[in-house]
């Protein structure tokens, strides 16, 4: 019996070793519309949605990894949809360099080890030419050395400042980091003549990076700063402490699932003053939970999610939103959809500029980008290096609707 079991075990190990390449790559993308995700291992399988490109040409393979399950699954899935939409559009307009584009996905479950195995799998098993990366900054830091070693360009969605300063040659940021948002917040503060700033931030890489950015901004004085555990829902201690300080405005740096309760509790505990935040406030679920309490909240973000596509002030974003709704049946659940869309755009553009998908050539092409229009604005890597966009925008809530700040 034991021998049989041992033999079974050994064969199991062998089987997985020799590689069942069928299972290796994709997860079924969660969407209502059609998608372009395919089993990406065999290059003999053509992409499913090609029109103009030759069906015989070897496809360009984009890899994607992000938190498709776990606490940040909503953001992760929105990120994936953004990439999927861009890939679909690329295929509809002739692909990259005349070749169809495939998207292979992997779930990093918000865990660094899974991020690392995802990237390794994408590179080794699926032979990706470039990667649209995750939104968790520590996971980008963990996987950056691997893409560097393998010369596979990767764009990342995380806003933590650190990973762009670690000297990695093959990663770029497809959105603005927390410094940019902090600078925009500073502008709002100065315009309203608010000088005493209180900060309430989430105690993880996202919130802590934001708090640091705020502290680092010249001309802003952070008078009081408190933090909360992302899993916690009772912020009364921190809030009461903050209220004891003489504050003109409170800045909140947290993610969707905490911002709602935080905003509610701030108002419930008696804070009537201004609240200012970052892209966490773009999440529809914050409005769902906080309701009228978001009225008057100002936030810094490159983009936001409107109640309907037509309401968005910028035309290119409106077009994106309309296509998104057509494809997936609803508006994005998180602004990460914008980020990945831009990221895929950047990769595709660089490949066209370089005339090849060779990693090192694409790297040089990205580093030469200046003046590329995306949903976020104008990308410039030539001066920014790893950071393509270094400013942000301000918005505010009127009731439960978002309007550009100052209007």
């Amino acid at each position: 019996m034991k021998r049989i079991m041992m033999l079974v075990l050994a064969s199991l190990l062998l089987l997985t070793a020799c590689g069942d390449s069928e299972d290796s790559s994709t997860t079924e993308a969660v969407s209502d519309g059609e998608t372009t995700t395919t089993q990406g291992t065999d290059t003999t399988a053509p992409a499913t949605e090609t029109t103009a490109p030759e069906a015989e040409a070897e496809p360009v393979v984009f890899g994607f990894f992000g938190p498709l399950t776990g606490p940040t699954a909503q953001a992760g899935n929105a990120l994936l949809h953004g990439a999927e939409l861009r890939v679909k559009e690329l295929n509809e307009s002739g692909g990259i360099l005349g070749r169809p584009v495939e998207l292979v996905t992997c779930d990093d479950k918000s865990e660094p080890e899974d991020g690392v195995t995802c990237v390794q799998r994408l590179i080794d098993q699926d032979g990706v030419d470039a990667i649209v990366g995750t939104l968790h900054s520590p996971i980008i830091s963990a996987t950056a050395p691997i893409v560097g070693e393998n010369e596979v360009p990767m764009v990342g969605a995380g806003t933590g400042v650190a990973w762009c300063n670690e000297g990695h040659e093959y990663v770029w940021r497809e959105t603005a980091n927390s410094d940019a948002n902090a600078a925009a917040i500073k502008q709002a503060l100065q315009e309203s003549d608010w000088s005493n700033l209180g900060v309430l931030y989430q105690n993880d890489d996202y919130g802590a990076s934001g708090a640091e950015s705020l502290e680092a901004i010249e001309g802003i004085e952070v008078v009081a700063s408190e933090t909360y555990n992302p899993a916690d829902r009772d912020y009364s201690g921190q809030i009461i402490k903050l209220l004891g300080a003489d504050l003109d405005v409170i800045a909140v740096w947290g993610l969707g699932d905490t911002l709602g309760p935080v905003t509610n509790q701030l108002r419930q505990q008696g804070w009537d003053g201004p609240i200012i935040g970052a892209e966490g406030y773009t999440l529809p679920e914050v409005v769902e939970v906080a309701g009228e309490n978001v009225d008057g909240v100002i936030f810094a973000s490159l983009y936001y999610i409107p109640e309907e596509a037509a309401a968005y002030p910028e035309e290119n974003v409106r077009a994106f939103l309309e296509s998104y709704v057509a494809e997936f049946g609803e508006l994005p659940a998180s602004d990460n959809a914008y980020r990945a869309y831009d990221g895929a755009t950047i990769l595709a553009y660089a490949m066209e500029q370089a005339g090849s998908v060779d990693g090192s050539a694409v790297k040089d092409a990205i580093n030469a980008i200046s003046g590329l229009e995306g949903l976020a604005g104008t990308f410039d890597y030539a001066t920014g290096g790893c950071e393509g966009i270094q400013t942000s925008k301000l918005w505010e809530y009127e009731g439960t609707s978002v309007t550009p700040y100052g209007q």
Binding site: Q74, T227, D234, S236, G237, Q238, N264, G270
Partner: protein
Amino acid sequence: MEAFVRLVIAGLMAGSVYALVGLSFSFVYKGTNLINWAQGEWFMLGGFVGFTVLEVFHFPFWSAIVIAAIVIFLAGFGVYRLLVHRMVQRGAKLLDVLLATIGLSILLQNVAMLIWGTSVRSVPPLLKGTLSLGAIIVPRQYMIIFFTTVVAVALLYTFMQRTDFGTAMRAAADNPYAARVVGIPEHLVNATTWGIGAAIAGIAGVMVAPIFGAYFFLGLTVGIKGFAAAVVGGFGRPYGALAGGLILGVVETLGAAYISSAWKDGFAMAVLVLFLLLRPHGLFRAEAFD
């Protein structure tokens, strides 16, 4: 000074939540000599049932409490009948049931995630607005929570000491064989105990949902702190859970405000660890050793 008072009040509110969950742990332990690790998840599910009743069906708040209590009672009862009963009959000990219910808590978390999604769900409060006592502002919902906790503790204590069922429960726990001899349907009693314990946690979940929101991950931290509250107070003692919970809540809130908010969870854990190392019997003395 007002800050201190407000902090203590806020701590008492959070502590009441831990007390209720701790109560559910203690109640189940007292009645069946077993521990259900998933009490935190009953709390979490209570919040979601409340959300469904209030936001999907638009029934009034009191009905949310009743419905949540019934639904979660049935769930707890069911867990005992389907799982624990079988394990106990095969000779499982406390540790085995503990480990199995760890699996149960993971299962319930994920089922909740599948049913209600990963976003936070909000619930409108029963009592809106705040109460002002001078400069001290207290959200009205806090009062309800605190009130419920005290009432629950008193009710449960009376129930266990003064009613027939409570006596039957204690008898079954003390000496199952003798209980059976006397004609007490031991397993029915135990299943009901588990159901009541679950319902207590579920009701707490509904009460707190307007402040915390309903979220699938909530059961984890609240469960551990609830368990800690029960231990600190003396495992198996209802008023122990109350005391333990309030202490934990106040310590953690004051610690967050006066020492460091980054370490907030650490304070609760530190209190727990200190008690376990120095006074494992808890405040009101219970069995702690092998």
